[in-house]
């Protein structure tokens, strides 16, 4: 293929060439970054919580006029909840995965040190939590009923014993088992908490972005919570979820009407997950639509402009055909021409894509665009260009040699 005549022909269509290349470049920059946003969001929303999510019910409960240090209402309520037909088990806690907010606490190996091992989510639970959530204990043991203490208001969550996630255990004790070792939760100078169990996975309450491991730093503290609000987490038998959704608040209101369960305060875990990742899913949809429409418009633009060029050059094509060029020569002429323009476009586009990503990294705490995305974007756009130019190029190749003798 001779590239030189194509380049010199393009010199006569500077503006059109420039516009197609520019459009290619911008499209590549946006599509790469949009695909990368999609990738990041999907990765975020498909993070496992570590719990068995089906047949799980969450109740947001507030007692009215309850004393902070009165721990009996939760116990009474739990007895009633566990007796509802269809309920397997239940426990009371300050939070659960994906609820948002929650209690976070620093973790130290040395109580006097300034630096921390990390920040852990703190779940106040009793001995029922592991079975209700369906989390797997990979080492050690569960809490015993006689080990459940009472939370001190606004204090450190420094219970004598704790259960931690494997992610936190690996981070704190990279070279050995965490079992039996002390950790220090909360502010400096707190009391030691001995790790008695390690669970496989349990996500923090807040589905915040960031690395996966850090969202898995969670600690179970065997304390009943004080204060006047809590969450009941209820596991139901399969198929009984809908019935319990109605029965549970009714049972609680029978015990005491001096409580508030707000509208939308009774949610299945499926609802919780849906709400927590709503904006992630929305961004995935939005970016997908943008990518598809953008690629379609760019392809249509190439078809339009190339068709015009073919129309403009019918006479020259006829001359070439008359001088012995084959249909394939004409076809490959236009394909090569498009490839050259596209190639220029994607080179500039790659720079733009990386630049845009760097800017977004600074502005929106995004990660670095992986090379794979840029490369597949480049390949996709080059193919798109070739596909778009195919129809006009075919039309050009069918221009008969006799065209050379006609005047327009």
């Amino acid at each position: 293929m001779q590239i030189k005549p194509i380049l010199s022909a393009l010199r006569h269509h500077k503006a059109g060439t420039f516009l197609i290349a520019l459009q290619m470049a911008l499209t590549l920059a946006i599509v790469c970054n949009a695909l990368f946003i999609i990738h990041e969001r999907i990765e975020h929303l498909s993070r496992p919580t570590g719990i068995e999510e089906s047949n799980l019910l969450m109740i947001d409960n507030h007692w009215v006029g309850k004393k902070d240090d009165d721990y009996s209402p939760a116990k009474t309520d739990l007895v009633a909840l566990r007796q509802i037909p269809g309920v397997v088990d239940a426990y009371s806690s300050n939070a659960y995965p994906l609820i948002g907010g929650g209690w976070a606490s620093g973790v130290r190996k040395d109580p006097a040190a300034v630096e921390q091992v990390g920040v852990t989510a703190v779940y106040f639970v009793d001995e029922h939590a592991l079975s209700v959530l369906g989390v797997k204990l990979v080492a050690g043991r569960n809490f015993r009923p006689d080990e459940i203490g009472e939370m001190r208001q606004n204090g450190n969550p420094d219970a004598p014993i704790i259960i931690i996630t494997k992610a936190l255990a690996d981070k704190a004790f990279p070279n050995g088992s965490a079992l039996g070792k002390p950790l220090y939760l909360g502010t400096r100078g707190g009391r030691p908490s001995t790790v008695i169990g390690v669970i496989e996975r349990l996500q923090a309450p807040s589905p915040s972005p960031g690395e996966d491991a850090r969202s898995q730093y969670s600690t179970l503290v065997p304390w009943l919570i004080g204060g006047d609000s809590n969450n009941f987490i209820v596991r139901t038998r399969p198929g009984q979820l809908d019935a319990v959704v109605k029965a549970a608040p009714a049972a609680l209101n029978t015990i005491s009407r001096l409580r508030v369960i707000p509208d939308g305060g009774v949610r299945t875990f499926a609802d919780v997950r849906k709400e927590a990742y709503k904006s992630d899913r929305g961004m995935v949809e939005l970016m997908s639509v943008v990518c598809v429409v953008l690629l379609a418009i760019t392809a249509a633009g190439i078809v339009g402009l190339t068709s015009f060029w073919v129309g403009q050059r019918r006479k020259q094509i006829g001359v070439r055909r008359a001088l012995g060029a084959t249909k394939n020569d004409i076809l490959s002429y236009f394909l090569t021409e498009n490839f050259l323009i596209s190639f220029g476009g994607v080179v500039v586009g790659t720079l733009l894509a990386v630049g845009l990503n760097l800017w977004m990294m600074a502005q929106f705490e995004m990660n670095r665009l992986s090379t794979g995305y840029v490369l597949s974007g480049v390949v996709a756009l080059l193919l798109l260009g070739q596909a778009a130019v195919l129809a006009p190029a075919m039309r050009a190749s069918r221009v008969p040699p006799v065209e050379a003798t006609r005047t327009v």
Partner: protein, 435 residues
């Protein structure tokens, strides 16, 4: 002439319906994407209190130093100790410590279930400072603040719910088993974003319906429902919580002139220096005083999704314009012979400019119509990406319609500028000769 060129434009667009449809769709999609996202951006980036935003300031004092502050920035909240010191110093025209609390309203009728109500603990200055509109009554006085009076201001929605909208000033309301005398009912007060209440749904949630005197709320140990950050040991009871280094309060001051703001900044600095001398802070004074818009920008009130989407949408529009420019170029240059004839018959370059820009404007107008339609469609999907409290704020109004039309036409004209210039450069002699 305009009407004639407009007709010529229509006829020309009619001649290549596919090309025309392509351009109209590119403009329509590009404009609609930008406008839909813009409506969200506009709703979240607005000035909630334009008449006062430059005279209301929120103060921060770094009480943790480098092993507890946010990379050198003081945390966005304040301790009880510092807020009370600033409150009592009374160095501003008006000032209030402020925090978010939650209560349960216990209806007088025992048949009815209690229901939750969110609210604020504040000093009486809150109401005149933030221009709170009143339906009945008013806020409470400084004397009532001092007397730790059991009074309350409630919101219009709550008043409608329990008093059927009647003037309830002077009546009693039971919150968490404690009775309060209502002194005022605020009218609907839609400040968005709620700059003094950003911890709840980023300032876009439902407005609190209860305003309690701060001192009274402290007596009743009303816990904060926003963020509470404790980087130092805290005792276990309410009193030690109050006097701990936990940050959980906002402190707002009204400083009507730049000189007063400068003085207050000086005062804050002095206060922190004093704490350093007293041995409480082991670091140099690190204080901030931000007005409303600075505060909103510092706290990133505009959701990240809105900012990213706007960037992508505007780039999308830009690509659509490049696309349209290319297609217009093809379309106009194809008519070089026609232009040559017109020029040879005496048409000036200006006339060519007018003819082709009007033709492009017609495309822009059609794009605007499609864009409006798609924007309206996009509005239905806004709540798929954004929190419903924010999606609710995005709506089509006259200014958005105007902007959509203006952006469509102007951007198409911009895209048409180069193709039109090329059309006007057509040499009549060359065209006539080659034919």
């Amino acid at each position: 002439m305009f009407a004639y060129y407009f007709q010529l434009g229509l006829r020309s667009l009619h001649r290549n319906p596919v090309l025309t449809a392509l351009m109209v769709m590119a403009i329509g999609f590009g404009v609609a994407a930008s406008m839909t996202i813009w409506s969200v951006f506009r709703a979240t980036s607005g000035n909630p209190i334009p008449q006062k935003s430059s005279t209301l300031f929120i103060a921060q004092v770094d009480n943790y130093g480098k092993d507890g502050n946010d990379e050198g920035e003081p945390l966005p909240w304040m301790t009880y100790t510092d807020a009370m010191a600033l409150q009592h110093a009374h160095q501003a025209k008006r000032q209030t410590a402020l925090y978010s609390l939650a209560s349960s309203v216990i209806p007088a009728d025992p048949q009815l279930l209690p229901f939750p109500a969110r609210g604020y603990g504040a000093f009486g200055d809150f109401f005149p400072m933030f221009d709170v509109p009143f339906l009945f009554g008013s806020g409470w006085s400084a004397a009532e603040d001092e007397a730790r009076a059991s009074v309350v201001v409630i919101g219009r929605e709550l008043n409608d719910k329990i008093f059927g909208g009647a003037n309830s000033v002077g009546r009693e309301i039971n919150l968490d088993g404690v009775s309060y005398r209502i002194v005022g009912v605020t009218d609907r007060w839609e400040v968005k974003p709620r700059f003094f209440d950003l911890d709840i749904k980023g300032g876009f949630g439902v407005a609190g319906q209860i305003y309690l005197p701060f001192n009274r709320a402290m007596d009743l140990k009303k816990k904060p429902v926003g963020a509470t950050i404790c980087n130092r040991n805290v005792g276990t009871d309410w009193d030690s919580f109050l006097h701990s280094e936990c940050v959980w309060l906002s402190f707002w001051a009204e400083l009507p002139t730049a000189a007063q703001a400068a003085n207050y900044r000086q005062y804050l600095h002095g206060y922190a220096a004093e704490q350093q001398r007293a041995g409480r802070f082991g670091w140099a004074p690190n204080v901030r005083l931000r007005d409303v818009m600075q505060w909103l920008s510092y706290r990133h009130v505009v959701p990240k999704e809105a900012r990213i989407s706007l960037l992508i949408a505007i780039s999308f529009l830009l690509i659509c314009l490049v696309n349209t420019a290319g297609l217009l170029l093809a379309k106009f240059m194809r008519r070089a012979p026609e232009i040559g004839v017109r020029r040879a018959l005496g048409a000036s370059k200006q006339t060519i400019y007018a003819q082709f820009l009007i033709e492009a404007g017609t495309v822009g107008l059609a794009g605007a119509a499609l864009g409006l339609l798609l924007t309206a469609l996009g509005m239905l999907y806004v709540d798929r990406v954004f929190d419903s409290s924010i999606a609710k704020l995005a709506h089509i109004d006259v200014s958005l319609v105007g902007l959509t039309i203006a952006v469509s036409i102007l951007s198409t004209l911009l895209a048409a500028f180069y193709p039109t210039w090329r059309a006007a450069q057509v040499q009549p002699a060359w065209q006539l000769k080659s034919n």
